[in-house]
Amino acid sequence: MHYDLIIIGMGLSGLMAAKTAVEAGKKVLIIGKGLGCLTLFSNTIDVLGIPLLAGPETTRLRDGLSQWIYDHPEHPYGKVGVEKIEEALSSFNSLFPPPYTFQSRNETNSLIPTGVGTFRPTYLIPSTMMRGIALKEKKTLLIGFKGYKDFYSQRLADSFECRGATLSLPESPSTEITATALARWMEQPSFREFIGTEVKKQIRDEELIGVPAVLGVNDPMGVRKDLEKKIGASVFEIPILPPSIPGMRIFNRFKERLIRRGVTFLIGHPVSKVTLNEKRCEGIEIAHPPVTTSYSADHYILATGRFMGGGLEADRERILEPIFNLPVFQPGSQEDWFGRFFFDKHPIHRMGILTDSSLHPIDERGKPILENVWVAGTILAGHHYLDEKSREGIEIATGYWSAKKAMEG
């Protein structure tokens, strides 16, 4: 089968690239070794959560970004530019018309409470989580569910200096409950009736009710509205540990829209081989033992993520990019891989694929390697998404931009 564009990787960057290309009328194939990482990470859309932008009522994101790009020209944001980053974010937003939207407050970052008891700066926030910003100012009750191990309301209440309660659920007296089961129950009116009654019993003088982000997959705003009616107080969702229900909402929305527009999805099988001819990729093979299938395209986008999704691999000597075997920017020796703290500017996070300003992969001397291949997402070098809190922003911006560039080239 031949396509205009083949995208390898089904995370947020790959999906954004697919959206951008199919909206321009291109025939698109998107391939994922697995489902992509949306169900793991994303609850909200981080763009840049550096200290300058972290506090409430601080710098507008746009100004912060411009300064950041000025200071870090080699950052993926530097290749895309502020204007195109904003264009990419609005393209993402167009997938979420009301009632369930992603918005910023006054174009700045906001601090929202998380399911592990911290406040985290983030930019675009789903409607169901927006009210969490007011947790510090308003009296809040946090509700957990017995058997759901990823959200301990009393423990969180200690961190947030509010009150917490745990509800026992009739359908599952003592066994473990998963986020997906909870989200499904939430979509049933009878379950909401039960939750509403139980929460009402727990309320003293609280105006806000915080719940884990499990208010259904299909219609979270409808679920919330009904719950609020039954409880008589405002309800908001708090981001949770994987599997992320808000991440599923994002993935499902992309998949639904993209399939409707004719994008072909292949989930579950890795790219086993690429055929290169001089500076061009001529085709790929997908292995599904005992058969392999060949696909070709005019353009290719590599958006395979980092170590967790298999975009980067490590052996004893070095870090590799397993599909195109592109050079990976990395410290010279393995000893330099180590750092004391995983989340604190650990050197492993800086490794990645070097590209030129159009997101073409380049070698150490800056020469383009493959003319019809572009690279997008967190696999790129030059960022430190954990520390910068920039994961989704990088994915959306470079996914969008790589597809734009691929269509030009």
Binding site: G34, P243, G268
Partner: protein
């Protein structure tokens, strides 16, 4: 035989929980702990000589969705299946499971006596017997037999074309949904193929799904030589049931190690995958007439597992006037024989509820899907008319088909 199964890759699992996002069973019942625990989690505690401890393993519906979404390539459902086989080997299998997995033995008889049998299936006393003695849920309609089989129809049907193609039609098409087989033959003929039916038995997927590896292997050993012969005579093989197809193309070699199965896999294609290849090479007969119908398409789990995208949807979109949407839902919940079992009926229906709601949101006139199990379940859930996509394609092509071959 057990030693040859690749089953020790549980350490590849990074516990990321992506599989927990898609498992249709753990979403609806706390009785099944979900793929992460049931698969690689529990696998670390399983030793060949030790008795099984995980009773819930029998609740894995075998949809393969966990395998597909895993970023680390862990074959979770395969681990579950092997553990299930061991558990059932120890516990013993009810006669009910034998009956459900050997329907191919009495299919011929079923067709012969269809007028009596079909009425019996609806009889309250019979239903009571079937439920209380056999453990098949009375709320489930037993599939009705047709009085004349697909094979019988094909015998009196002279197939003509420039190129030969072999058709693996499967048991259900032969005795219960003959129309799907006819439509497949007619569309292939309209594309210049002479269809022939290589000798074939049940593909074996009902046995495999119930952890009966030996039973499945027996069927595979009958089918593979016959299919190989068809391939050696220069034809490809197509299937219209994605479950049979997945079994032949992937499980025969991967799980059952049948000699020659890899060669078979390379020449075996999903019907719509084959038509899409014709389209790609400019050889698809696409002189479609207008069909002003609002339809919804559901991709069966085994189609997703084939890793070929949604070829039926791509082809159906070529039909003028046909408004077709993809149904965004996971497993239908029937899981082959799973949903017929009394102790699993409720779970099966709960899983189906999500699919029903997704269908309701689209308000289609008809639903199209490639798997007979999904068709049964969707009829049961919605009461809508449910067809194989090839039947719609045949209708759109009919004007190009010789009337005599028509219906």
């Amino acid at each position: 035989m057990h030693n040859s199964w690749p089953k020790t890759n549980s350490d590849v699992c990074i516990r990321c929980a992506t599989c927990m996002a898609v498992c249709p069973v753990s979403r609806v019942t706390p009785l099944f702990p979900g793929p992460k625990h049931a698969g690689p989690g529990a696998e670390r505690f399983r030793k060949p000589g030790d008795p099984s401890v995980d009773k819930w393993i029998d609740l894995c519906i075998g949809c393969h969705l966990c395998d597909l979404v895993c970023p680390s390539g862990v074959s979770i459902s395969e681990m579950n299946l092997i553990a299930k086989a061991k558990y059932l080997d120890e516990k013993g299998r009810p006669f009910r499971d034998w009956l459900l997995t050997h329907s191919y033995l009495f299919g011929q008889l079923g067709s012969f006596s269809s007028s009596v049998l079909n009425r019996l299936f609806q009889n309250g006393v019979v239903k009571w017997f079937v439920e209380s003695i056999l453990g098949i849920d009375r709320r489930r309609e037993l599939p009705a037999y047709q009085s004349s089989t697909f094979r019988q129809w094909f015998k009196s049907h002279p197939s003509k074309g420039q190129r030969k193609i072999a058709y693996f039609y499967g048991c259900y098409i032969n005795t219960n949904e003959v129309e799907v087989g006819k439509a497949t033959v007619q569309v292939l003929e309209a594309n210049g193929f002479e269809v022939f039916l290589p000798p074939q038995e049940c593909c074996g997927i009902p046995m495999l799904g119930n952890g009966d590896f030996n039973g499945a292997r027996k069927m595979a050993l009958k089918n593979v030589p016959s299919l190989l012969q068809a391939i050696q005579s220069g034809s490809d093989i197509i299937f219209s049931s994605t479950s049979c197809g997945h079994m032949i193309k992937h499980e025969y070699s991967h799980l059952l190690n049948i000699p020659g199965s890899e060669e078979v896999a390379k020449h075996t294609f999903d019907l719509f995958e084959y038509l899409r290849n014709l389209l790609e090479s400019g050889n698809l007969n696409s002189r479609f007439k207008k069909l002003p119908i609002k339809a919804a398409y559901f991709a069966p789990c085994h189609l997703r597992s084939l890793g070929i995208g949604l070829p039926a949807l791509e082809i159906l979109r070529l039909i003028p006037g046909l408004q077709i949407d993809n149904i965004e839902a996971d497993c239908c919940g029937l899981g082959g024989t799973f949903g017929f079992k009394k102790e699993k009926y409720e779970i099966s229906q709960e899983i189906g509820k999500d699919l029903k709601e997704a269908i309701d949101r689209l308000t289609p006139e008809i639903v199209l899907t490639d798997c007979e199990g999904c068709r049964m379940q969707i009829r049961h859930l919605t009461g809508l008319k449910v067809l194989h996509p090839i039947q719609i394609l045949r209708d759109a092509l009919l004007q190009g088909i010789d009337k005599e071959v028509g219906r």
